[in-house]
């Protein structure tokens, strides 16, 4: 299972086959996990758009959320989930500040709250998180590693 961070969640909602996330998925043998902060970020960005594009992306995101299920759901007559869905829950709430403190060294380039929450989920679940290969994302991961915080990452570009 791989976790999508906020920007890659937005790319999944778009679905264009040339986007880095879609190119990664094309050759991937891993199920995909959406996260609550990733969905919140994508919905927040999409809400700033106007016209048919906004409606299209909202519909696609809504379907993603509907097709995502918590890991405990199963059974023959349960709807077949398309994605894992990972909450920002109790365990994540307890370690959020550890990651935030580790990222303090970034100063003004500190990631946003939703990104830190996604990192926290990846850290707690110990599942690899898919990240767009940007300088800021690399710096963020370096800061976490320097603080001794482990995270599996898959870089895509």
């Amino acid at each position: 299972v791989v976790i999508l961070d906020p920007p890659t969640t937005l790319q999944l909602a778009d679905g264009n086959s040339d986007l880095p996330l879609l190119r990664f998925l094309e050759g991937s043998s891993e199920p995909v996990a959406l996260t609550a902060p990733g969905i919140a970020y994508a919905a927040d960005v999409i809400a700033t758009l106007e016209g048919p594009q906004r409606r299209q992306l909202e519909n696609r995101l809504r379907e993603m959320v509907e097709k995502a299920a918590p890991a405990y759901e199963g059974g023959l007559f349960a709807p077949v989930p398309l994605y894992h869905f990972l909450e920002f829950g109790r365990a994540e709430a307890r370690v959020f500040s550890d990651l935030r403190v580790a990222l303090d060294v970034m100063g003004d380039r500190m990631p946003g709250a939703l990104s830190i929450q996604s990192y926290t989920i990846a850290n707690v679940t110990d599942l690899p998180i898919v990240l767009l290969d940007t300088q800021s994302a690399r710096e963020q991961l370096d800061a976490l590693i320097q603080a001794g915080i482990h995270m599996q990452t898959i870089w895509i570009s």
Binding site: P7, E26, V45, L76, P81, P111, G112, A113
Partner: protein
């Protein structure tokens, strides 16, 4: 000796039927509604769709349907006695290998729980089905790609996802007394695109 043995079997069978004519096998009555359900065409169709969604082959779906009906029927109706089983075990095994489950009762010990026999292969199929249907099966990345990917134009926000405003932790005093600045940082995005 052979005649005596056959006579013994007949006597025991007669005793068995007399017993079960008056007393239901334990749990049989509670299985009847389930038996009606699993024989209902709409239910069977839903059952098959559920298995199909979990990528069971058509052949496996048919066998599981037959097997489920057979096990339920066996649980709902009169059992075979151990004596009857002993009389022709080869025939019973032959029947089991054709996905016909068989309920067995110990006529001599009424308080002993009945058992249901299925073939080893059917048991393997049942266990596999239970494991595969009680755990959700998530599609792989490449399967998701086939489902969602399109060649239309990408949105600008997906091409260049906007960064969030840097998270700003409020001071303890701000957190206690409220501070609109930190709340704004939580809400908004860093820049437009």
């Amino acid at each position: 000796m052979g005649n005596v043995g056959n006579l013994d079997i007949r006597v025991q069978k007669a005793h068995f039927h007399e017993y079960y004519d008056h007393i239901e096998p334990e749990g049989a009555a509670t299985m009847r509604p389930l038996l009606h359900a699993i024989q209902d065409e709409a239910f069977v169709q839903q059952f098959k769709v559920g298995l199909s969604a979990r990528e069971f082959s058509t052949e496996r779906i048919e066998r599981l349907t037959t097997l489920l009906q057979s096990v339920t029927r066996a649980a709902a109706y009169d059992p075979m006695t151990i004596t009857e089983l002993k009389a022709n075990p080869g025939r019973v095994i032959e029947s089991l290998t054709q996905s016909r489950a068989q309920r067995i009762a110990d006529g001599k010990q009424r308080d002993r729980e009945d058992v249901i026999m299925v073939s080893a292969e059917d048991m393997k199929i049942l266990v596999d089905a239970i494991l595969r249907t009680t755990l959700p099966r998530y599609p792989l990345g490449r399967e998701i790609y086939k489902r969602v990917a399109h060649s239309g134009a990408a949105s600008q926000v997906a091409l260049n996802p906007p960064g969030e405003r840097p998270h700003q932790t409020p001071s303890y005093a701000e957190a206690l007394h409220g501070n609109d600045v930190s709340a704004e940082n939580e809400r908004g995005l860093a820049q437009s695109w």
